[in-house]
Symmetry: C3
Subunit: 439 residues, 3 copies
């Protein structure tokens, strides 16, 4: 997503050919095809990013212990549903303000989204860009993605309802405000900050919200013992791998759709480059983690490969268009390296991140955002850093406040007995795999 | 799907701009883009609805006990394959009759579908609408969906082959006949019945066929004991959740593709609205079930949330275009409420529906169909009720007859020993999870 | 994929209408829509074929025993990542040589792929066909598919790193060379060999590479005992079924995208026919296996149904466009029959193919390729046989050499203790399902 929703860079270029058939504008219909192509891009991109919600659900269900799987699934489907409602009720209006409440910083809170009337005839339609409903559908999925990132870090010990209340605030308010700073035409976009599809706006933001939660919540019982990290392996690596493949697939929509236009040769060609670069960065992240775990630990680590691929994807998200395939390999590969080193580093800080979401989304997201000036003229490391700090500080502090309020009123952590018994039995009274004996 | 395949509402509107470039029709080529866009819609919509077959398979495999999982998977992939063949051999010809055998009620039974010749040159093509093959592909998936609904209800006790024979009749004859009444231009469409993408034609119809089967088949051994319902929890809620996400994704194709046209600004804008509304209804159904199970039972119930989302989807299917996002939330949310109350109600009637398909597809399907007049001028509750009754009576009675015939000739239920041992060992001689000890 | 990437058959036909709007070429912009439509086809087709990587991963993870699942997942995601890098580094340049090193047989090895510059303005773009990046993205997925086929056959006993080194050679060199013979405009395409989407170029090729590996590697310990085949059932048939559905879905992109053009009425109509035929062949393969296992063994076999569907898909891949739906049913159905008989036949030859990839991809691939002259004028059984033999001999021999070299330097098979303990514990030190007791 470059610039704002309202002024996609490609529109200027496409305006000319669109009417080139006309010798007398009054006589001919406008060219409707760019409108249709771009709307298609939003719809296809949108359903691919929707699919990422399933990817997070499978990844996280696979990486928690079986006694917490049903709860994790409940959180994942519920957070997506809540995001869908909150983004409509408040979020979209905040994110794309017609008029700012605080110039460049905060939009209006009471602009419930409605869609344009049905069945526009060609003659009546304002052929200004693409269907508003398709844009809403696409943007909604990014908001939900931000919330999905949080659920993995806090798994296996957080209470269900406080988590869902946090999700409500995150998707309705926190994400839309920070996203408006860039994609709504706010102060970061004015400054020249560059984050194409959201390495920082979505992924690092979700990571900061998760980090705040992890600090308030504390680590799982028994995770850090006598200065050592106790491994708590995921219960189903097949699901975790499936989740990673789903996320990889969805990312083509995440990055490709963020071109925000597909109705010109230039735009669809850019979308194609983005697909190729996105795939390369994921592959490089996976291979980097594959080789590095072999070299460092003497054994390949599957979960590191999965997270390496995801870190490669997060890394290329800030700029999936301009890099060459070689630069995409470098950017994604460094993302994979980051994961291998950041996971044990977090453990040393006793920040318990169950699925590795902070290394993957926060740290690789920062890396990807800082890498933009390597390939893009007109961007600077300083501006990129300012953007990261602004978003990071805002999301971290507001999240911390919400977590602390939730902790004060009723608490956010399950009891010790519930945690040991497992959240599924203790909180839901149902198990994900009730028939299989557990070890 | 509005009106018939042959006269999509949007064609009239799109006819004008399509030739607007021409000042002299003899000099210029026709505008081929609407044909291509609409064909793309059928293909993308079709592969998304195909994907729903996998969704049903995973949902049902997750909700049965592990001793019946392999059989449930066998049924799901086999029924899709059988539907693909039967719809070609008989169904499509019945559903879209060039000439009726009984006017408005039944088409010809012996019109095997063939596709138009290969490689039409632009000059030769009849640019009347879209590729016939893409329409066939898309419609086929709806036929298969109807059959998928049945398999879940009857799980864990029905014999494999009688089920597959029923599927053959359902997909070859029963579904195509009732669907022709509306989408083939039959008497219901003449009456003004309105069912955009098939809340009744597909979902309630599948539900009625399942209900007839459940009555003939009887409940599982031990399900109802001393006036109480004995819970028989699903063996793999991760799979069930995955199945729900798959169905949610596929539904964008199910409802969006049913616009049946994408080549004008009005049509693609309508498709976009349908995507946004469909997502909202699913989200509302999930949230309704989330809150209601917490309030009613004091504990959140994951399977209710999954079925709530699906009920929201079924509810919006009769009219995903006209409602506002707020009305979509209301319609879908009521769908979620229905599920929470209908599941125990069915149990009181001792109708054993293993996966909750009757509440989700039949009852929410009726609700969605009856809700159409809330948003659509020109429709009436009476006409909607007549349509539901006509389709319900026809599908229920013909299904009942088929089930009774199958029961008379060889039986439809496995032996008591087989049911207790599990269908996988008894019928297939293979298990889904042979290495895991079962509790 | 017919003919070469550079001269798609449809381009000639589409050239005329594309400029038909123009009365004076100098005054009007070129028609950009065919470029956009075809690029979209590559992108959508490409992400569907990407998804097949997940399908292979789930199919194979479901068909191996639980002690080898994590290793199998590691192989699948790693091989895809390696293929993505190797095809960029060497493969694409070999496969589509601007200039041949050996005329019609081998392209240059040092043509690292780069993508065209960003943001082509309409005026500047060479509107010759479609985005090069989209073509690269699409073709890459075929290369990765070839490697995916190999991993299943060799499961449960091959060492991780030798397998990955073989993958490197296969995707960087072996596949691109043989694929260039047809799709790069090499000697097979000159001869009139016909293999639309790769029954032989992809599937049989992958099968030949797998066969060479299986021979060098030998069967699993205990598989063949006292002249009998000992069944080693897959650990998770739900995953295997999911994998099959994923592959079925992805195949619409595999075959449909291989039309290589979507910007004319003729092309998009052909893509539609391909979708319908592909689905029919899969359905027929599944039903054939369903009936045949019942008749032959008295019991339906789920894994045979899954492999039957896949064999149907492989069979129709050589020519998914020209057959009628009825002929697609015949071609795919014979594919399903082949699987049911070929699996035990291989076992008699003591070739241990864990997932049945050789019957599905190699034998059904040959069948599909030999079936082309049944429907296509201008092709001959002799030419088809020559193509199969040329590719088969090349892939088998080069693969055999690579496997033998790998065997000589360090070995390709894990130790007996490792194999019995399971590769997950022995090679990775982690398990896929660590909490479930195994039987």
């Amino acid at each position: 997503m470059k610039l704002t929703k309202l002024i996609p860079a490609s529109l200027v270029a496409s305006a000319l050919p669109a009417v080139a058939f006309a010798q007398d504008a009054a006589e001919v219909a406008p060219d409707i095809n760019p409108y249709i192509f771009t709307t298609l891009l939003f719809l296809i991109g949108g359903f691919l990013v929707f699919w990422m919600a399933a990817g997070f659900a499978m990844l996280e269900a696979g990486l928690v212990r079986s006694k917490n799987v049903a709860t994790q699934l409940t959180k994942n489907i519920s957070l997506f549903a809540i995001a869908s409602i909150m983004y409509w009720l408040i979020g979209y209006g905040i994110m794309y303000p017609g008029e700012w409440v605080i110039e460049g910083v905060m939009g209006p809170w009471f602009a419930i989204t409605s869609l344009e009337p049905v069945g526009l005839a060609t003659a009546d339609a304002a052929l200004d860009y693409a269907s508003g409903a398709s844009d809403f559908f696409f943007q909604l999925m990014f908001c939900a993605t931000t919330a999905s990132i949080v659920s993995g870090t806090l798994a296996e010990r957080i209470k269900l309802w406080p988590f869902l209340i946090f999700t409500t605030v995150l998707t309705g308010i926190i994400y839309p405000i920070e996203a408006s700073w860039q994609w709504g035409g706010g102060f970061l976009s004015e400054m020249g900050f560059s984050d194409f599809a959201g390495s920082t706006l979505v992924h690092a933001a979700g990571g900061f919200a998760a980090l705040a939660g992890a600090i308030v919540l504390g680590p799982r019982i028994g995770k850090y013992k006598d200065g050592k990290t106790v491994p708590m392996p995921g219960s189903n690596l097949a699901l975790a791998t499936l989740g990673t493949f789903i996320l990889w697939l969805g990312w083509f929509g995440f990055n490709g759709g963020s071109q925000l236009a597909a109705g010109t040769v230039g735009d669809i060609t850019d979308v194609s480059r983005i697909f190729a670069n996105t795939n390369m960065a994921a592959a490089a992240g996976a291979v980097a983690a594959l080789i590095l775990t072999q070299v460092t630990y003497g054994k390949v680590d599957l979960t590191m490969i999965l997270n390496g691929a995801l870190a490669g994807l997060v890394s290329i998200t800030a700029e999936p268009l301009m890099p060459s395939l070689f630069m995409s390999l470098v950017i994604g590969g460094i993302g994979g390296v980051i994961v291998v080193y950041a996971v044990p580093m977090l453990d040393k800080m006793k920040i318990d991140d169950v699925v590795g979401a902070i290394p993957v989304h926060l740290i690789a997201g920062i890396w990807g955002t800082m890498a933009v000036p390597l390939t893009n003229d007109g961007t600077s490391f300083v501006t990129q850093a300012i953007g990261i700090i602004a978003i990071g500080a805002f999301v971290f502090i507001t999240s911390l406040v919400v977590w602390l309020i939730l902790k004060a009123f009723g608490g956010i952590r399950v009891s010790e007995e519930s945690e040991i018994m497992g959240l599924d039995k203790a909180e839901l009274g149902m198990e994900a795999y009730p028939e299989f004996y557990k070890g």
